[in-house]
């Protein structure tokens, strides 16, 4: 079932790409194990782990009791004997019970033991809104993890990156909180999977070049930014878009280079703005580009409110019009 290797081009969803990444990693390294709530025979509520139990057996992909802290703790313990667990938190907010395990152990164990006990764990977190889910099902908690030293934070915005970033997250020795934008799960792409493997984590990618202003974003907001850039083009503005791919590490070089050309930037993300990841990006890029900036870097983010109910979520989320408004302020 190592499908990636011999298929030239195939149309897959992000769910498929993630599934394939898990399969390929599990095939390559028998220490990779996958577990969480309903990830076995059901294949996860989003089907990302579909068929893994069938292919690799119950030993390699299995259901756990509903105990997120316990799941995280078990994963940590397993690394002592060389396993490389990939765990799923069913929805973003349901990872909160595991925060003590993640902040006090996952993030710190390598450091505490001076590298003797690395914890190569990937925590997959379906995150964000825009899918009309009821309360507690649409949080975006990446900033909590981004500010925790010892953790890495990845988030793909494309089907290809979903594959590549997940593969890389599993392969490396640092713990990675892997944020999967739920509303992109069913996005499709033509994918010669192994060849798409150009995404280097920690390396942002320029999704659109632009001379007038730069949008800096990640995950679910990339498509909104691309749409905004297109709309701006119709109004005569040449707006570039940068996809960070990982929040930790943050590729400030790529972002700063783009900003240096345009002198104007907007950071866009879906999670709340106050003390969000956008604040860090803004502060760092301002420091790096202070003399070149023509206007203060703007932020277009989720509002500083609990995630709204489905009928109201569009008021919360960054939208093309909010980005255009912000562009109008600085252009």
């Amino acid at each position: 079932m190592n499908a990636g290797a011999d298929i030239a081009t195939t149309t897959v969803t992000m769910v498929d790409a993630l599934n394939l990444a898990l399969r390929d990693s599990m095939t390559e390294d028998e220490n990779v194990v996958v577990f969480g709530e309903d990830v076995g025979v059901l294949g996860g509520v989003f089907r990302v782990t579909s068929g893994l139990t069938e292919t690799f057996g119950k030993d390699r992909c299995f259901d756990m009791p509903i105990a997120e802290a316990g799941i995280m703790g078990v994963a940590i313990g397993m690394t002592a004997l060389g396993l490389r667990p990939v765990v799923e938190m069913q929805f973003d907010a349901f990872g909160y019970p595991a925060m003590e395990q993640m902040f006090s152990h996952l993030a710190k164990l390598r450091n505490r033991t001076e590298g003797r006990w690395p914890v190569p764990i990937v925590v997959r977190v379906p995150y964000g809104g825009g899918i009309g889910a009821v309360e507690h099902h649409s949080d975006s908690s990446e900033a909590y993890f981004a500010q925790t030293p010892g953790l890495k934070v990845y988030t793909p915005a494309t089907v290809g990156d979903a594959y590549t970033l997940l593969r890389e997250a599993i392969a490396q020795d640092d713990p990675v909180i892997f944020f999967e934008p739920k509303r992109l799960y069913w996005e499709k792409a033509e994918l010669p999977v192994p060849e798409a493997a150009e995404a280097v984590p920690g390396r942002a990618v320029i999704r659109r070049e632009g001379e007038d202003a730069t949008l800096i974003t990640y995950g679910p907001s990339l498509s909104v930014c691309l749409a905004a850039a297109k709309a701006a083009a119709a109004e005569g503005y040449d707006v570039g878009v940068i996809d960070l791919r990982s929040v930790v590490p943050f590729d400030e070089g790529t972002a700063a280079d783009a900003l240096a050309r345009t002198g104007r930037g907007i950071v866009v993300h879906e999670s709340a703005g106050y003390c969000g990841v956008g604040a860090e990006i803004t502060a760092r890029l301002t420091e790096l580009c202070f003399d070149i900036l023509e206007a203060p870097i703007q932020r277009v983010t989720g509002r500083d409110i609990p995630y709204p109910p489905p009928h109201l979520e569009h008021h919360h989320l960054p939208s093309v019009s909010r980005i255009l408004d912000a562009l109008a302020d600085i252009l």
């Binding site: 059901l42 259901d63 507690h136 106050y274 109910p309 009928h311």
Partner: protein
């Protein structure tokens, strides 16, 4: 730990405090109405009028008994699965469904109805029930809090902490676990290994009961006893009701991926509504007319629910900002103004 399953799977359990005929008829009525509203809600979800709906089909004895075991000052702490308990607790069905419909998170006034919002984060509301019960004791009141949860939720640390704290403080709480065999796709044998969830009571030093959750008579009797035990200062009670989740986890779930349909058969044979109907009929206590009246009332309520849910809810963005804080910080006030002015523009 008392086990009232054995005695009831094939018969009917005789309650220590006799239930009045009125209580049994009220139970039957609420179960029939509850099932009808539950079916309506499932349909509304399929048709897109609700975002999602977790049905409690087959669990009506538990749902109704939970609400009806409570006294007039007692509180209910339900989960997403417990809409029928909330209907029975006399909350307007449309307001119960607000969260699932997606116009707001909670549609009713929790204090007026003595009912917490549906809890989605599993088992977290168990401690809320303990807090309320402790506050009640502190205030010299005699309220009992009933926390509902599923078999899956018992694996959470929050469940344990709540039971243990309640035990230490002898808080008047009834923890009512509807053991319906599944947590989404995970069968309860992969959730815990004990013979019975009620066995956990021993480890907390509290009273534990196991009951056939498809037997309304047994379930309400056990719950009433538990409520009075708690109310009278004897501490919390853990009640496990063995039942079965006949429906998918929610309308979005596909149970064929993880269980055989035939598995439901014995449970359908022990359908709680059929059982109580049969029992009352056999005893000559249920006239055909009464049954038809109830069914008519259920139809009417279902039609009313459908009609009202189909009216598009108002979606005023001002609501988003109105109650984040009693006294909002300046950055939020700015955002409120921005959102509202966008509205005027649009």
């Amino acid at each position: 730990m008392n086990d009232r399953t054995e005695t009831t799977l094939d018969g009917y359990w005789t309650p220590p405090t006799a239930l009045t005929l009125v209580a049994l008829r009220n139970g039957l009525r609420a179960m029939i109405i509850g099932r009808r509203l539950d079916r309506q809600a499932s349909n509304l979800a399929k048709q897109g009028y609700l975002t999602v709906y977790p049905s409690s089909l087959g669990q009506e004895a538990c749902q109704v008994a939970a609400a009806q075991a409570l006294g007039p000052d007692d509180w209910l702490f339900p989960t997403y699965r417990d809409s029928v308990a909330m209907f029975t607790h006399r909350i307007d069905p449309v307001k119960v469904l607000t969260m699932l419909r997606g116009d707001w998170h909670c549609g009713f006034d929790p204090k007026a109805h003595r009912c917490a919002p549906h809890s989605t984060p599993l088992a977290t509301h168990c401690a809320h029930a303990v807090g309320l019960a402790m506050a009640s004791v502190k205030k010299g009141e005699k309220r009992v809090a009933m926390a509902l949860c599923g078999d899956g939720a018992t694996s959470e640390g929050d469940f344990h902490e709540a039971l243990n704290i309640a035990a230490v403080f002898k808080a008047p709480v009834v923890f009512f676990v509807q053991h319906n065999g599944y947590a989404i796709s995970t069968p309860s044998r992969r959730q815990f290994r004990a013979k019975s969830l009620a066995d956990k009571a021993i480890g907390y030093g509290i009273r534990g009961e196991k009951v056939d959750g498809n037997d309304f008579v047994a379930t309400i009797s056990v719950l009433r006893d538990a409520v009075e035990h708690a109310r009278n200062g004897f501490g919390p009670v853990l009640v496990e009701a063995r039942t079965y989740r006949v429906s998918p986890h929610t309308n979005a779930d596909d149970p064929d991926r993880y269980r055989n349909r035939s598995e439901a058969e014995p449970w359908l044979e022990h359908d709680p509504i059929a059982r109580l109907t049969e029992y009352l009929t056999a005893q000559g206590r249920l006239a055909r007319d009464t049954l038809r009246d109830i069914e008519d009332a259920a139809e009417e309520l279902a039609a009313d629910l459908r009609r009202r849910v189909m009216i598009p809810p108002e979606a005023d963005p001002a609501r988003l900002f109105a109650h984040v804080y009693a006294d909002p910080p300046p950055h939020l006030q700015e955002q409120r103004i921005a959102v509202l002015s966008e509205e005027y523009v649009a």
